[in-house]
């Protein structure tokens, strides 16, 4: 073999090797096994909630309470996508970015996915996938802003939703759309804002639209075929289990709400998916829908393979408050009263943190996590029902503060309809066995505008039967609850409600952010503030952490959207000065 030929051979081998390395790094395969074992990959953030257990906790500890004061901006990246549509003058950014093997996947409110190469300590653009969302069509029936809470990873695909009701599968390597399918029906008031949940070879999709007369559902799509595996309605029909809890004579279940717009959790050993179901509709006329209205305001546990509801736990039956029961479920194995428990923790909008047995749905305890609750005098320690729940009544009155057909204007209701906590995820530190809850300390009032029993909701029109009012300013808190004791361990108050979710780390830190623009780190032991950075914009997205080349980063989406700036600015004065933005900020030492 001549020298020239050897040179060419060597060159070819080098090029091919480089190609293999590049391809390997660029096309990580997200297997079902990796997703189950995500807690063992602290360098990555593979799930919307970090892990199937939704702890929002990382074992990374390079950044810790001794050095967090040195944390600084490593890189930022502008995603774009702040334009408005429908009834919304601008879009927000509620998404949790995912990180896999040095690549980040971020999504804006309109479902545009951006892949960034973060391996070099920068956010370098790789590709952008624009699904071409019909902005006016979707934005007109999106109650609470132009939102999308994140993507999911499976195989060599990125899975994402669009506000106009589609599931989109995008090739990780190229950014090309592999396939898509229409799941939600905006013509019926359905939109999709939830981040997908991957379970085995399925992707689970939830729906928004509880204020537009939808009948909610969860749907599993087969990732191999791109076709529906199962769909489970979350509002029971008359011939289904729970159907007798709709005791009306005008088929109220058909517009009974029950959105599923916050990503659920999954226990791979029990093969159960836990998902929160939203408020019944119409929100503020419960006489239209007498009965407990299952499975509204409930956690449902579904067999992952069939979608069958194995059990449920309902928080606020016949809800008169819009206490949307969608919030996330943190799966925890711990001791309570000297007995081992497989719990799921759920901080409901009604102001209580519930510990529920995740094997059979039985009640363990409920602890108030807000400072003011007046809609009920407490929770029954045995049944878990509100103490003012009347099992004989078809229409619940609770403590008498709600508005209704008989009392058109309510008293002050605490917590208010946005809840003591909304979708923003809490974090659980398994080392301390403490859950850190982002709290909206709020009260408000409602007015009922009764719906005629003979009338039906008009597709794409609001179906709330009333409105709400904010006579008081809201504030916030970060409240820590000792899970083994079921008691508040500590709390700090904040000027604004915390709308960003929480991240806990093994560095004994708790990260969150404020709607007026600051990213903050607290000491996990005593909630003492250790670090704060002003982004110059507003935040309502959860922080994450990841590592590349042994270096830890904290990342977060920056760009205020959601409900408060649009609907209730009088309760959060000052946020009207926050301009739309859509940025990723990443911090390191």
């Amino acid at each position: 073999m001549g020298l020239r030929r050897v040179r060419w051979l060597v060159l070819a081998v080098i090029i091919c090797s480089a190609g293999v390395v590049f391809a390997t790094e660029s096309t990580s395969v997200t297997t079902a096994e990796r997703l189950v074992g995500a807690v063992g990959e602290p360098n990555n953030w593979l799930h919307h909630h970090g892990t199937y257990s939704a702890h929002h906790f990382s074992t990374l500890a390079e950044i810790n309470r001794d050095n967090v004061s040195d944390l600084k901006v490593a890189w930022t990246f502008s995603l774009g996508g702040t334009e408005g549509g429908g009834i919304h003058p601008s879009a927000g950014l509620e998404a949790t970015p995912l990180v896999e093997d040095g690549f980040m996947y971020a999504i804006d409110g309109w479902g545009v996915v951006t892949k960034l190469d973060v391996r070099t300590g920068r956010g370098k653009f790789v590709w952008r996938m624009d699904p071409g969302t019909d902005k006016d069509w979707a934005g007109e029936v999106a109650c609470c802003g132009v939102n999308n809470r994140g993507v999911a990873l499976w195989g060599e695909l990125v899975l994402s939703h669009t506000l106009d009701g589609r599931l989109v599968a995008t090739a990780k390597y190229s950014g090309e759309i592999a396939w898509e399918r229409q799941i939600g029906a905006p013509e019926s008031g359905e939109t999709i804002t939830v981040a997908p949940l991957i379970v085995k070879d399925m992707v689970i999709t939830g729906v928004s639209g509880g204020e537009f007369g939808i009948r909610g559902w969860l749907e599993a799509t087969d990732l191999n075929s791109g076709k529906r595996r199962w769909r489970r309605h979350t509002i029971a029909a008359p011939d289904e289990p729970g159907g007798d809890t709709w005791a009306d004579d005008h088929e109220a279940y058909k517009t009974g709400g029950g959105g599923t717009w916050v990503t659920g959790s999954y226990d791979s050993e029990l093969n159960l998916i836990y998902w929160g179901v939203g408020n019944p509709g119409p929100d503020w006329d419960r006489h239209y829908r007498p009965g407990d209205n299952l499975f509204s305001n409930s956690t449902i546990a579904l067999d992952a393979d069939t979608g069958e509801i194995k059990f449920h736990f309902q928080y606020t039956p016949n809800d008169p408050f819009d206490f949307d029961g969608v919030n996330e479920h943190v799966l925890v194995d711990t001791q309570y009263k000297d007995k081992p428990h497989q719990m799921m923790l759920h901080a409901d909008r009604n102001g209580y943190l519930y510990a529920i047995n995740r094997v059979d749905g039985s009640f363990i305890y409920a602890t108030p996590y807000v400072q003011r609750i007046n809609w009920t005098s407490g929770i029954d320690p045995v049944s878990g029902r509100p103490l003012d729940y009347d099992p004989e009544a078809k229409v619940q009155n609770y403590a008498g503060v709600a508005s209704s057909r008989k009392k058109l204007k309510s008293d002050l209701i605490c917590p208010g309809i946005m809840g003591g906590k909304n979708w923003m995820p809490m974090a659980y530190n398994p080392q301390r066995e403490i859950v850190y809850i982002p709290v909206n300390e709020s009260c408000n009032t409602t007015t009922t505008n009764p719906v005629d029993d003979d009338s039906k909701s008009i597709p794409r029109e609001w179906f709330t039967a009333g409105g709400m009012h904010n006579p008081e300013r809201f504030f916030g808190s970060l409240t820590a609850i000792d899970v083994k004791q079921g008691k508040v361990a500590m709390r700090i108050e904040t000027e604004y409600p915390i709308l960003s979710g929480v991240l806990a780390t093994a560095g004994d830190l708790v990260f969150t952010a404020t709607p007026d623009g600051d990213v903050v780190a607290y000491d996990a032991e005593n909630l003492k503030e250790l670090w704060r950075f002003a982004t110059g914009s507003g935040l309502n997205a959860p922080p994450i952490t990841y590592a590349v080349n042994g270096k830890q980063y904290i990342a977060i989406s920056v760009g205020l959207g959601g409900t408060m700036p649009k609907w209730w600015i009088e309760a959060v004065p000052g946020l009207e000065n926050i301009n739309p933005s859509a940025m990723i900020f990443s911090f390191s030492l």
Binding site: D136, E187, F463, M468, H469, E570
Partner: protein
């Protein structure tokens, strides 16, 4: 003999007049209403009063129907500027109810107390208030049940909502 320059000016003038006439034929809006429509969206009138102005429930308060309201122009300007006390109709005038300012209903927040209207997300200039009232009066007030033309006027002919309305109307006619 015709002056060529005059002839060109005449042609341009006729063309402009023709254009304006065509525009007037195709629009029932007042001249200021185009700006008013963007204010209607930006200032979140669309949130509670809806795109069609019919009002009803939402996440705001229960909004009155702008299609059936008997309010005249001055009253509409007053309500947009100053809100409506004891309701959730917000005020859009920056100085309303502030300190000793009693330009709105002769009141300030001290005298109205809990009945003080909420403040809007966006404050509006007098010009914007006039524009949005022009828009309401020309495109919404007194226009009956919202139909396809209203949909096209608000969202555009390409909007899926309007296309579906047209299809639905067409099916109804065939039946």
């Amino acid at each position: 003999m015709i002056n060529p320059q005059k002839h060109i000016r005449l042609r341009i003038g006729l063309l402009l007049a023709l254009c304006m006439a065509i525009m007037a034929m195709h629009s029932h809006s007042a001249p200021n209403a185009g700006r008013g429509k963007s204010v209607y969206k930006k200032a979140n009138c669309v949130g509670c009063h809806k795109w069609h102005g019919g009002g009803g429930g939402s996440y705001g308060g229960i909004a009155l129907s702008l299609r059936t309201t008997p309010l005249n122009r001055d009253a509409l300007i007053l309500v947009v500027r100053c809100g409506r006390p004891a309701t959730d109709m917000p005020y859009h005038y920056r100085k309303a109810y502030r300190g000793d300012n009693r330009e709105c209903y002769g009141s300030n927040s001290a005298s109205l107390g809990d009945a003080t209207p909420p403040r809007a997300h966006y404050f509006l200039s007098d010009r914007d208030v006039a524009a949005v009232v022009d828009y309401v009066q020309s495109d919404i007030q007194g226009r009956g049940t919202p139909g396809y033309d209203d949909c096209v006027a608000f969202w555009g002919a390409d909007a899926r909502r309007c296309i579906l309305m047209a299809q639905s109307k067409s099916k109804g006619e065939k039946k």
